[in-house]
Amino acid sequence: MSEAAPNIKLEAPPIELERDRFVANNLGMGEISDQICDVIERPTPLWWKICMVPALLLLSMLGCMIIYLLTTGVGVWGNQHPVMWGWAIINFVWWIGIGHAGTLISAILFLLRQKWRTSINRAAEAMTIFAVMCAGIYPLIHVGRIWYGWWLFPIPNANGIWPQFRSPLMWDVFAVSTYFTVSVLFWYMGLIPDLAVMRDRCKKFFGKFAYGLFALGWSGSNRHWRNYEKAYLILAGLSTPLVLSVHSIVSLDFAVSNLPGWHTTIFPPYFVAGAVFSGFGMVLTLLIPLRTVCKLEEIITIRHIELCCKVTLTTGSIVGYAYFMEVFIAWYSGSSYESYAFWNRAFGPYWWGYWAMISCNVVIPQLFWFKFFRTNLKWVFVLSILVNVGMWFERFVIVVTTLAREFIPANWGYFKPSPIDILTYLGTFGLFFTMFLLFLRFLPMIAISEVKGVVPQADPHHPLGGAKPGGHH
């Protein structure tokens, strides 16, 4: 392709007018494929093995913790009266929040024609799916009698047990399972052309067979592409409202209740903003080391990182505004129970949680106003982790401080997690990273075909690109 050098010479636009390209160093189409597939095709790298060991250990710990929990009782957690939801729900909401960035990037940014999404959407979507898996475990295992968990699904049965659709938990069941299903479909759909690439490149029989099986006979024909693009667009359209709905509905778990600090109409938009915020935080945390170890600096460029930082800054500020509004409304309502709830968050026994949340979610992201912080990878990495720490504390503050002290002072309590809570949480990281590492090793972590679509070579009007007479891809 590239050997057919163009013989027309156009004047290049002034350098200051041109944005940084999405793929640096003018990589050619083949180079892009090579670079991305190299992660899978080369012998298993040492860093991967080193990462896989703790991930698997944590995963098995998660299994042990769940077995212990199920055989012994919810009491092994730190849950108590009055804080009947503890780390399980905090972590559920946290993981669900993380699972927001992927679909947002792949669906909403796709509809908005934000081409920079292509370098990061595949990994972000994978992250979404694995995060939702981690999240989905919690509502299941947190119930007292898991063996009757199926009662939450509308399955006709002889007992005449039917779910109660007024409960936000029911809405959760549907919101999360729909979101997960559509996210998986969307992700898989995007994977098909790349799976075909892998199939074509793979030299081993089993790999070829497996990739071929999932590539569904993709041949890259015009007709395939046309159908593919339509289906992708439809799924993007379907996913978009889900991105907004799933966390809105999760927020209704709280907003529908009557507790001061939970019963708030601001929750749905504020939760969505928070989810996008934490999702981008996680994307940054994952991609910054990955682009180095996988040698993908040319495809995931500083520009991508910077753009993610800007989204983080925006959503972080929205969250900050929501915090402020909550306090304002609590004061404006004139209800002493409401105002106490927010006073208690800031100055009660869990003050540290509140201020950790405020500093990590509102104050620290403001550093992203400065280009230095957006472009300095070390800073971005640290800040992105702080974003997720802050978001964890947000969920902690909402769940725990509210329940610990609401209407009747005599039943106020103080929640402390048990070691099982903590180990289970760490265990979900095992699940997440095991899945993610497997993904890195066996699937192209960047959408090859999509990235190719945003390089100048794909643009017929660009000096570097365009269809050449008699040319071929």
Partner: protein
């Protein structure tokens, strides 16, 4: 066993009544049958190794023989029973039998529910002339003692298993030897009891064995009332107080609501005087002088905190004022005045308090009562009696009942005798646990270990007092015993067994009769004999009526009409009382008090009581060294949970004084459920104990208080300790207590240690923070039509946003489907709780636990806040941290019409029925716990573990753990074999399941539970009514038929339950009172449980007169009483004389900003 009698008995036709196991056991055909059926069975009963076989045995032989199950009234079916169902027996239908629970000074008349031959629930006998059916917490919980797997289950010699036969031989040998030498060297040690039969048998014994010596000892000296009255009047009399007739009550350290005996009577009478409505706004007034903050102090209108050793001086001052004020000539009580003057010079007490209190008493001459408590010396009691005599209360509010003379020796005499005399001695201990609870200086344990002493001990437990050299005979529970008692008003009550003794236990009466060598020693016959003797004839009908009714007023001693106070005695006793002691930082006092739950330690192994939160400290499973904030501050104690106890910084600052000192250090920890309490050492004389410190606001300064009965570690049970429940709880305060300091000791030295102990308190935050959950007013304001306090309770509602009334449906968006259903419902259940009557005594909490199979969870779980009580007794301190007011509020499921729990349950496990009950469907619950989170009252309880099926020290042990074995079997394997049993040891399981109410589901882990308004009782009554109605439509349950367990147990009648659609029902009438209010009504949950606001009755002239502190706090938050019909009258609605600054800004804020944001 009298053979002729038993043969006549067997010849009788018609229904026969169960008498005693011995009676049947003695029957030759029975013994033959047992031998034939179970050749080795008889042995197994007493063999601890096969103890677990006992219930099997019981069900196989005793039950089938119609013994165990026969109860009292079932005909004997000796051979094969229920193939042919006995007459009048309906399987599954509970029966009720009248009985009584003996106490130290009387008895509590009971009606005991029996399900299939096992007693399951204790209720008071409301037919009894001195009872409304109320009981106390201990009576409710006493049924668990019956099924205590750790009770003495064997006849043990030298702490080694033996047999009943050998034990009987030994008793016979002692009796023979004693008969020979007329009781020389025979000592008997017993507790107090007011049982005519025991008195009679004892008199017989002492007549036959005149050289035998009888000693009585009780660690808690309830006998002081009798002793003091006997001294004062020169006759064997006991005072009986008619609190219901008293308009003014002065208690001198007399906690008649808590630690005194017969609290169920006192509470009923006291509450009667607190029940008011706008038409009858008369109310009694209670003055309390006390050192500890007790329930009586909490109920008091005026409370004076002084050290226990200073109470009699306060009494002397009041008495002096009373005598002077009444103008009683000195000659009437010669010399008394001088004694009082010499004695009453007490510093530190506001003289105005004394004056006004005395004036108030004098203004109610003949209609007031002065009571001294068991924690006070005879001097205080004499002063109280003196005042009652002077005020003309005798035979009006105080009656004197003649009692039998008691010339027993003390435990001190006994120890001296055991140590000093030479020659062989025999000691018979009837119940109690003297080795553990005798005064420490006696070294009683060593005295009975002497080679020369042979001990025969009748003990309910194998505990510290189980002789190493002698016999331990298992004592029968009162629900297994025949006996009788006199209640405090002198009415005779039968103690009737509900089942055959589970472990072949013996009663005191039988043992005494055997020792006395009587021909008939069956307690049944003995009790009958006493009854017939009193009756004067052998009327079987009268006997049956006695048993049926559960009381017999005939023959009750009439009150002594003419008595004369002997001034000389008063003078003598009061003069020698310790008058110099001035408690202060240099001379500190330690008080030993009966624990509100486990009493003197007798209920130490009772899990229900151990886990019941102390009404004041809210501590479970432990005792502590209680002290006031100032005292703790002086000791420099920090990180004290009790310090803050929820008092906000503001409250501390307002309290002034030393309070600022509390703020350094980690005071925040006190709010975090940590409760790691510093251990302090108390040194009294040469003895020391140490225990965790706990601060109780409102206690007298420089006073330390230790509850008795804890720290049991020297038990001799098969399990090695005092029992699986009570082992390792608290510290033993008896070790510090000597004969000189039985009630309190002076000059105790306190030292801090580095150690801490974690305590389990069920309430972390002790103040109400100005929230209008508890609504209180003062009587004078309440009755004054101008102040608007008549409907203060509704006036404290959160104001609605303006214009909400104009919105359709009152601004509520959705119609409640219940409103439609209700139109066709037969009943609409509702409850009302009168905060004016409730004294916080915990009886309802225990009654609910017993009725509804509420499990205990253990200390570790209570620390985590996972206690399961369906009734939470909320306790709030308010006002000055040094001298606060206390208020209690029982919080149960409110059965909201718009229940927030219901719409959040994803599986329909909690729903409403048409009668307004918020139902909890256990078998549909998956345990998301969302309902609990959304419950504003937080009255739902979650089974975090299988509390019913696993030992409490095993909760965290996964059943998969192969090392986790019970009875030598892997739990998973046990589970596979029998899924109902769990991991509880078989002997425990067999017994504990008998205590369960068969009408109530036992909940498994992962399930939410809560108060059901005792739905089993509601349904039972509805079914009965439908049966009665037949074809007629009269299916409406008449008012008063259903009593919830809590309502039934409440001696104060503070809880009323019924049909709120019936305009005449009691509950409707009460709800119509202006005092009625909904807790958190602004949430529009529309609770069916409402509360009647509390009215305090302080004396305007008192120096500490003020508006209720909770009200002041509420106003302090800028709130404003919404007076109906008095709009704009806010300025004087709570009066400036309250001492509270009522700013206009506050009022303004209240009216503009206080919108209901919903």
């Amino acid at each position: 066993m009298n053979k002729t009698k038993s043969t006549t008995a067997s010849r009788e036709t018609g229904p026969k009544y169960w008498r005693s196991l011995d009676q049947l056991e003695g029957a030759p055909e029975f013994s033959k049958w047992v031998d034939h059926e179970f050749p080795s069975g008889a042995e197994a009963v007493t063999d601890p190794v096969s103890r677990r076989n006992f219930v099997k045995l019981m069900s196989a032989s005793f039950l089938l023989a119609g013994l165990g199950m026969s109860g009292c009234r079932r005909p004997e079916e000796k051979i094969i029973p229920f193939a042919k169902q006995p007459h009048d027996y309906v399987h599954g239908q509970a029966k009720h039998f009248a009985s009584a629970m003996p106490t130290r000074t009387g008895a509590i008349p009971l009606l005991v529910k029996q399900d299939d031959g096992r007693p399951t629930k204790i209720e008071g006998n409301s037919e009894h002339p001195d009872s409304n059916g109320g009981t106390n917490a201990a009576a409710q919980a006493s049924i668990l003692n019956l099924y205590d797997p750790d009770r003495a289950t064997r006849f043990a010699k030298d702490r080694i298993s033996s047999t009943r036969t050998l034990a009987l031989d030994e008793i016979a040998a002692i009796a023979t030897a004693a008969a020979k030498n007329r009781g020389e060297g025979l000592h008997i040690l017993s507790g107090h009891a007011d049982s005519p039969t025991r008195d009679r048998v004892r008199a017989n014994l002492l007549r036959k064995l005149p050289k035998a010596k009888w000693h009585e000892y009780e660690p808690i000296d309830h006998d002081v009332h009798r002793r003091a009255a006997t001294k004062a009047f020169g006759l064997p009399v006991k005072p009986y107080y008619h609190l219901d007739k008293a308009e003014r009550i002065l208690t001198l350290d007399c906690d008649f609501i808590g630690s005194e005996e017969d609290s169920h009577v006192s509470v009923r009478q006291f509450a009667k005087g607190r029940k008011i409505d706008p038409q009858h706004p008369e109310m009694n007034r209670l003055y309390a002088v006390e050192a500890l903050f007790t329930l009586t102090g909490a109920a008091a209108d005026h409370r004076l905190r002084v050290p226990a050793s200073a109470v009699h001086r306060v009494a002397a001052q009041i008495a002096l004022k009373v005598l002077a004020g009444l103008g009683i000539a000195s000659s009437k009580f010669p010399g008394v005045k001088d004694t009082l003057i010499a004695h009453g010079a007490a510093g530190g007490v506001d003289p105005k308090w004394i004056d006004v209190c005395a004036d108030d008493l004098m203004s109610s001459k003949g209609r007031c009562v002065v009571m001294a408590g068991q924690g006070q010396s005879e001097a205080t009691h004499l002063l109280a009696l003196l005042m009652n005599v002077a005020l003309g209360n005798i035979n009006k509010t105080v009656t004197l009942r003649k009692v039998s003379e008691n010339k027993s020796g003390s435990i001190g005499d006994l120890t001296k005798a055991l140590n000093a005399e030479t020659g062989k001695k025999t000691l018979v201990i009837l119940g109690g646990n003297p080795v553990y609870d005798a005064p420490a200086n006696l070294e009683f344990g060593e005295a009975i270990e002497s080679e020369e002493v042979t001990t025969l001990r009748l003990g309910y437990y194998e505990d510290e007092s189980t002789p190493k050299n002698g016999w331990n005979i298992p004592q029968a529970h009162y629900l297994e015993s025949w006996g009788d008692a006199l209640t405090s008003d002198g009415t005779a009550v039968p103690v009737q067994p509900l089942m055959a003794p589970l472990f072949d236990g013996m009663t005191e009466i039988e043992l005494l009769a055997r020792l006395a060598g009587e021909a008939v020693f069956s307690p049944y016959e003995q009790t009958r004999a006493t009854f017939f003797a009193r009756l004067g004839s052998r009327s079987e009908d009268a006997w049956k009526k006695f048993l049926h009714d559960g009381y017999d007023t005939a023959g009750a001693a009439a009150p002594m009409k003419t008595v004369k106070l002997i001034s000389r005695v008063v003078n003598e006793v009061v003069r020698v009382a310790n008058k110099e002691a001035n408690v202060g930082p240099d001379l500190r006092e330690v008080i030993f008090y009966a624990d509100s739950k486990i009493d003197d330690g007798r209920y130490n192994n009772n899990g229900w009581l151990q886990e019941a939160p102390d009404p004041i400290t809210k501590l479970t499973w432990d005792n502590a060294v209680l002290m006031s904030p100032t005292t703790a501050n002086e000791l420099g104690l920090k990180n004290m949970r009790g310090f803050k106890d929820g008092f906000h910084d503001k409250a501390f600052k307002e309290a002034g004084g030393t309070v600022a000192d509390f703020h350094d250090g980690e005071h925040n920890l006190t709010e975090k459920g940590e409760f790691h309490q510093e251990v302090v050492t108390l040194k009294l004389g040469s003895r020391t104990i140490s225990g965790p410190a706990w601060v109780v606001p409102g206690m007298a300064d420089n006073v330390f208080a230790c509850a008795l009965g804890y720290g049991r570690d020297g038990g001799a049970t098969v399990s090695g300790g005092t029992g699986r429940v009570g082992d390792g709880t608290g510290f033993n305060a008896y070790r510090l207590r000597t004969e000189e300091s039985l009630k309190y000791g002076l000059d105790v030295k306190v030292e801090r240690t580095d150690a801490t102990i974690q305590l389990a308190s069920t309430q972390e935050h002790g103040t109400i923070d100005g929230r209008s959950l508890i609504r209180e007013a003062n009587l004078d304001k309440f009755t004054d039509p101008d102040t608007g306090h008549g409907d203060f309770a509704k006036g404290m509602n959160m104001p609605h946003p303006e214009g909400i009334e104009d919105l359709p449906n009152g601004g509520i968006a959705y119609k409640n489907p219940l409103d439609e259903l209700r139109k066709n419902a037969t009943h609409s259940w509702g409850m009302v709780i009168d905060m004016n009557s409730c004294v916080g005594c915990n009886a309802c909490v225990l009654a609910c636990q017993s009725e509804n199979n509420v499990p205990i969870v253990g200390k570790e779980q209570v620390v985590k806040g996972r206690e399961m009580h369906w009734i939470r007794m909320d306790r709030y301190f308010s006002g000055d941290v040094h001298n606060p007011q206390m208020a209690h509020q029982i919080m149960v499921c409110q059965h909201c019409e718009a229940a927030p729990c219901e719409n959040v349950c994803p599986v329909n496990a909690t729903v409403h029925d048409d009668e307004g009950l918020n139902l909890m469907i256990y078998n549909r619950c998956v345990g998301t716990r969302y309902c609990s989170n959304n419950c504003p009252y937080k009255v739902r309880r979650f089974n975090y573990f299988d509390y019913n099926k696993r030992p409490l020290n095993d909760l965290y042990n996964s059943p998969l753990n192969p090392l986790n074995r019970k009875d030598g079997e892997w739990e998973l394997k046990r589970w596979a074999k029998d899924r109902s049993k769990g991991n509880i040891a078989e002997d425990q399981w067999d017994l504990l399941k008998l205590a369960k109410n068969p009408s109530v589901t036992v909940r498994m882990r992962g399930v939410m539970e809560k108060c059901t308004y005792c739905i089993q009782r509601i349904e039972g009554a509805k079914i009965a009514q439908k049966v009665k109605a037949g074809d007629s439509a009269d299916v409406k349950v008449p008012d008063g038929t259903i009593k919830t367990a809590c309502q039934q147990a409440c001696p104060a009648e503070a809880i009323e339950f019924g049909n709120i659609d019936d305009p005449k029902s009691k509950v409707t009438v009460l709800k119509a009172q202006a005092r009625d209010y909904e807790v958190l009504g602004y949430l529009k949950t529309k609770p069916r449980t409402t509360y009647l606001g509390r009215v305090r009755n302080p004396n305007k002239d008192m120096p500490d007169y003020s508006m209720p502190e909770t009200y002041k706090e509420w106003v302090g938050q800028g709130n404003h009483l919404q007076t109906h019909g008095h709009e704009g009258d806010h300025d004087h609605d709570h009066g400036h004389e309250d001492g509270h600054k009522h700013s206009d800004e506050g009022g303004h804020k209240a009216t503009t900003g206080k919108g209901d944001h919903h």
